[in-house]
């Protein structure tokens, strides 16, 4: 039995914010209780972790991760991606289907789950594709995908361009109660664009991607969701207009949820003056006004989830001229400290922040994670709020190094990551 003692337990799902102990046995939570006197613990308790002064929360969930396996193992494997996740405090991740081959059939789903089981150290939830090969032409066999274990479908990386197909995709997914995650981008409006269209792109002479490229498709996908009654989740919201559209739709009861990534509330377009390709991401880093709107969206609940869109790329893709560089940055190992800044800035309460990583994504994906309930898997993250650290990407567990946060002084980090009762990360680092 494992006992986690003296920590401040915050579990937004169960509305808990109290100093409690957690007893774990055979990979499950046995009991959550008031602290006992020293020495009065059960004799079967073989391991005690004293986390006085630390935060104890349900294992964090990142519902937007690119694991790159199968096909691009040189950027990241299921194994290394899971290690990065655990290092960042995540006990569950959902991985996008834009692998090679694409996860558009049960064999690939099975492959991912098998690999995760044998080599991954955290829970892996595959997301299947909406269209075959992500080509936007034919629907995937979603029933088969669901049976194989996908928790949602998405063509992330691109939008389904044909609106009729997107509509039918949503209706078809509805048959199996599958969530449709929408990457919203009008590829005609973005053609050739490499950063946000704004003053910085005007000054630098780089081709810009207007907010409209995201917002027109956010609107489309929400309207289609309304039409079809399908549950829809908007991925990586980055603009003021997108937040506004989601907010309005929610106020009318549309079944839409939304996420944003840490880089959309930590960086803005001005940073691209340096032409650093590690800042090239899709959707791009936006204007200061958009950053403020994203924070407001997190604050008022319009944006339910913080998900990293962890997108590893090697130097082959990044150490080139700006236009040729691939978009994407890694995020698993910096998400938590970056998000904790929001608490400092009083954008979110501690509990509110934690819910963006736990109760909310769990509910949206319909997985029994993200909360501390006796009988459920013991997925727990322990956070040290006052741990000051300078980000050193060379220490990262992810295989790639494409992060713009190197050298940033951040506060707060996951001390322990416990997955199904097993300590994967402790204060000395990864145990696996």
């Amino acid at each position: 039995m494992l006992l986690i003692k003296n920590g401040r337990v915050i579990d937004p799902f169960n509305n808990i914010d109290d100093y409690l102990d957690i007893l774990i046995d055979k990979g499950r939570i046995v009991e959550i209780r008031q602290g006992r006197e020293e020495g009065k613990e059960e004799s079967r308790v073989t391991q005690i972790i004293d986390v006085r002064g630390k935060l104890v929360v349900p294992g964090l969930i990142d519902m937007h991760v690119h694991l790159r396996e199968p096909g691009h193992e040189y950027k990241e494997t299921i194994k290394t991606g899971c290690r990065a996740a655990a290092s960042g405090g995540f006990s569950s991740i959902a991985c996008m289907p834009n692998t090679n081959p694409v996860n558009d059939n049960q064999s690939v789903t099975k492959y991912i789950l098998d690999k995760a089981k044998s080599e991954g150290c955290v829970n892996v939830f595959p997301i299947g594709a909406i269209t075959k090969g992500l080509e936007g032409e034919f629907l995937t066999e979603m029933s088969e995908l669901k049976n194989a274990g996908v928790v949602a479908v998405s063509d992330d990386g691109k939008s389904v361009r044909n609106s009729e197909l997107m509509r039918r995709g949503m209706e078809y997914a509805k048959n199996f109660d599958l969530l449709v995650i929408c990457h919203c981008e009008d590829s005609d409006l973005t053609v050739g664009g490499v950063m946000n269209e704004g003053f910085t792109s005007t000054r630098l002479g780089l081709k810009g991607i207007p907010n409209a490229a995201e917002e027109t498709v956010v609107a489309r996908d929400i309207i289609l969701a309304e039409l079809t009654g399908c549950r829809v989740h908007i991925a990586h919201v980055s603009t003021e207009g997108s937040v506004r559209i989601v907010r309005e739709a929610k106020s009318r009861g549309v079944k839409v949820t939304a996420e944003t990534a840490p880089h959309y509330f930590s960086l803005s377009e001005e940073a691209l003056e340096s032409f650093d390709t590690n800042l090239k991401v899709n959707p791009p880093l936006r204007s200061v006004k958009d950053v403020e709107a994203v924070k407001e969206g997190l604050k008022d609940g319009t944006l339910d989830v913080i998900a990293t869109d962890h997108a590893p790329h090697s130097s082959l893709e990044k150490d080139v001229e700006f236009d040729y560089a691939s978009s994407g940055l890694i995020g698993l190992e910096t998400a938590l400290p970056l998000a904790l800044q929001l608490v400092k800035e009083k954008v979110l309460s501690l509990s509110g922040l934690i819910s963006k990583f736990t109760a909310n994504p769990a509910k949206i994906l319909d997985i029994s994670k993200g909360s501390l309930i006796p009988g459920n898997d013991a997925d727990i993250t322990i956070i040290d709020l006052s741990l000051n650290k300078k980000v050193d990407i060379n220490q990262f567990k992810t295989r790639s190094r494409n992060a713009p946060f190197n050298g940033w002084e951040l506060e707060g980090e996951a001390l322990y990551t416990i997955v199904k009762g097993k300590v994967i990360k402790d204060i000395n680092g990864l145990v696996v």
Binding site: F199, T202, R203, L206, K207, F275, V320, E321, F322, D323
Partner: protein, 305 residues
């Protein structure tokens, strides 16, 4: 060295004193091109590599002649014939060239920021001969030199830049240079070709051709791009030249002694009519002459020691 940086990547990075030093030095250099023996030994033994990822006759030739008139050894690399076709990255190409010890590399590239990649990784001096739509500093310098030669001083002048501003590195560099030198810049073009927030760069946006050119001392016309991607930016050359082109008729609305400039190559009959291009106040060919002098000045200031 008298210039702050080992490289010339942007006008944005240059101080007013540096710009004036370059222009003054170019003045001294211009004389050399009028001699019988157009050569001085100043850069003897220095190696200059022209690394052009985009095709160019005029700029590359200008740099080549500039280097040779200063007795440097000039090598031209144009990528259709080079290892880039074999997939070598810019950084690797740079390192390979550096292994042959050049003193200076002139690079033209279609991607903004590419010269910075070389400047950061090579000890050689790097001159940006045009990077995407970002900057073309030597063009702006030779334009400023040309204006200064004709008008004596740039401060207080009013200058119009007309055309596809969004895609123009010449426009951006000129806006920086002219602002630093104290001129007033007004721009005009189709809404499809004006980038957002351009006023923040210190320019006024005119609402019509006539408004743009009246009362200005210099009109700079930009070339219209004819590539496929531009097909959404204007419907036809005919309409473009009617609405946004400069011809003798339209010129009547401008000052009598207005100067006409164009970075070249010109699309005759499109943005500029043949009569205007060949007319008495067009400085297009002088810009080319001055281009050699300005580039000689830069080569001297960067590696003349």
């Amino acid at each position: 060295m008298p210039l702050q940086n080992k490289d010339l990547l942007t006008i944005e990075q240059l101080g007013i004193d540096e710009i004036n030093l370059i222009l003054d030095t170019a003045d001294s250099m211009k004389e050399i091109s009028t001699r019988d023996i157009k050569k001085v030994p100043t850069l003897r033994g220095k190696t200059i590599i022209n690394l052009f990822y985009e095709p160019s006759t005029r700029t590359r030739t200008s740099f080549e002649i500039a280097g040779k008139r200063l007795s440097a050894d000039v090598v031209n690399i144009s990528t259709s014939a080079s290892s880039t076709v074999k997939g070598e990255t810019l950084k690797d190409t740079g390192k390979n060239l550096q292994a042959m010890n050049p003193d200076l590399v002139v690079i033209r590239h279609s991607v903004a920021g590419a010269p910075k990649i070389l400047a950061d990784s090579l000890p050689a001096s790097i001159i940006n001969a045009g990077d995407g739509a970002h900057e073309h500093p030597t063009q702006a310098l030779l334009d400023a030199f040309t204006i200064r030669e004709k008008k004596g001083e740039i401060e207080g002048l009013k200058i119009a830049i007309i055309g596809d501003i969004t895609n123009s590195r010449v426009a951006r560099s000129n806006i920086h240079a002219l602002n630093k030198l104290g001129a007033e810049v007004v721009i005009y073009g189709s809404f499809t070709m004006i980038p957002p927030f351009i006023e923040r760069m210190g320019v006024k946006v005119a609402s019509g051709m006539d408004e743009a050119i009246k009362d200005v001392d210099v009109i700079m016309m930009l070339r219209i791009q004819m590539e496929r991607q531009s097909r959404f930016l204007f419907p036809s050359l005919r309409e473009y030249s009617t609405v946004f082109g400069l011809n003798l008729d339209r010129l009547k609305k401008a000052k009598e002694d207005v100067l006409i400039m164009h970075p070249g190559p010109i699309n005759r009959g499109v943005e500029i009519s043949p009569e205007v291009a060949d007319g008495p106040y067009a400085l297009i060919l002088e810009q080319v002459t001055n281009g050699v002098a300005v580039r000689m000045a830069l080569l001297y200031l960067l590696i003349g020691r």
